[in-house]
């Protein structure tokens, strides 16, 4: 048994640790390449558009339905205790603290992260990245930095919009459909939600998720095998790894922040 597992373990460590190091180098190099002369502000705007604005419709629809389902489920749980006046608080806190940042990041990984990986992977497969280096253009500044900063910038904004639309969806189900008192709904929410404790901590989470998802997507694109299958596999890995990392990181951040 040990003849089989020990070399395997050694192999995995031997492969993984340098990869992690290279990925960290990519992250730090990309983040600090903002001052580089090949960093283009316009390219960054283009990425904010591609990653953020184009994900907006998906986020709004997802948030609306998430909020409406929360309204229904919360109502059926609370109505047994005659505590439906706490429904607004339940919906707002669930969305602001957990569901908003996490669902935004998961959807972002599927909608934008996969596209990033595929894009950079094909750049690599068609040797565009090598061509850039030949022309003395730093790919970290030209390709990585705008995408990393675009993702870090776009995800918190998407998250705020997700939170707000979700709460509105919860309101739509709770007050007009289920007959919870509207004044109580908002009053309870107002008295139990705090700006720094709930709203800003949720956004801090979204910021971390934006960084992690974009980082994984860019790294998977960079380290993809330069073939059609390689790019496909890297895209899959990007979404799977980003989703699992978001869920794991969420646990750690929740333990730290709240």
């Amino acid at each position: 048994m040990s003849d089989f597992f020990v070399p395997r373990l050694g192999h995995v460590v031997w492969e993984t640790v340098p990869r992690l190091g290279a990925a960290t180098r990519l992250l730090l190099g990309g983040l600090s390449a903002v001052g580089n002369r090949h960093f283009s502000f316009r390219q960054w705007l283009r990425e904010v558009y591609g990653l953020g604005v184009l994900s907006l419709a998906l986020m709004i629809v997802a948030a609306l339905f998430t909020g409406m389902v929360l309204g229904f489920q919360g109502y059926y749980a609370l109505v047994r205790f005659g505590a439906t006046s706490a429904l607004g608080t339940l919906i707002a806190l669930s969305l602001l603290r957990e569901l908003g940042p996490v669902l935004t990041a998961l959807l972002f990984a599927g909608r934008a992260g996969s596209a990033l990986t595929a894009e950079i992977g094909s750049m690599k497969a068609t040797e565009q990245l090598a061509a850039m280096e030949m022309m003395a253009v730093n790919p970290l500044a030209w390709v990585v930095a705008p995408r990393l900063w675009g993702g870090i910038f776009a995800v918190p904004i998407l998250c705020v919009i997700f939170d707000l639309v979700g709460i509105f969806g919860g309101y739509l189900v709770s007050v007009p459909v289920l007959g919870v008192d509207g004044g109580t709904f908002w009053a309870q929410m107002q008295s139990n939600v705090t700006l720094s404790g709930d709203i800003l901590n949720g956004l801090l989470k979204a910021l971390c998720f934006g960084l992690v998802v974009t980082w994984i997507a860019v790294w998977q694109g960079f380290s993809a095998k330069p073939t059609a299958e390689g790019v496909g596999a890297a895209t899959t890995r990007s979404v799977v790894m980003a989703s699992l990392t978001v869920l794991g990181l969420d646990f750690i951040l929740t333990a730290l922040l709240f």
Binding site: R42, L45, R46, V48, Y49, G52, V53, L56, F81, G82, A83, S85, A92, L96, A154, P156, I157, L158, V160, I161, D163, L164, I167, Y171, V175, D181, G182, G183, T184, F185, W186, A187, Q188, M189, Q190, S191, V193, L195, I199, L203
Partner: protein, 159 residues
Amino acid sequence: MSQRAIDWWVGIFVLLGVAALAVLALRVGNLSGFAYGNGYVLHADFNNVGSLKDRSPVKLGGVTIGEVTHIGMNPQTFRAEVTMRIEPRIKLPIDTGASIYTQGLLGEQYVAIQPGGMLQNLKPGATITLTQGAVNIDQLIGQMVFDKASGSSSGTTTH
């Protein structure tokens, strides 16, 4: 996609984010503040408002007819002054009473209106004088315990 169009979209995106944050920062509140915006104002003085809050509902026969807009303290009488906004189509007689009750055992407190029988109606800005404040459960329990304890010796203590 031209650069100018992208600039526009990103600008709109950022503004949307800022606006959403502003609404959230106002504690996802003032959205339903318009519900009784055209209602008329009534005041009521209570000796104890309990945990009544701004935007707590005002109910008549279990139906919400308005909301609390302000709770203050009258420095002369030391009584809590509650300001409410009532739906304009609900006209209340001048001998109307107001009480503060709790929804369920642990629920939110609200103002319950008991309409009177007089023909004259309360004018906007008028004050309801027949009021009953919130019941303080701690005080009730304390009183009950005290009655039990003293009841065994004298049996006449009542409050």
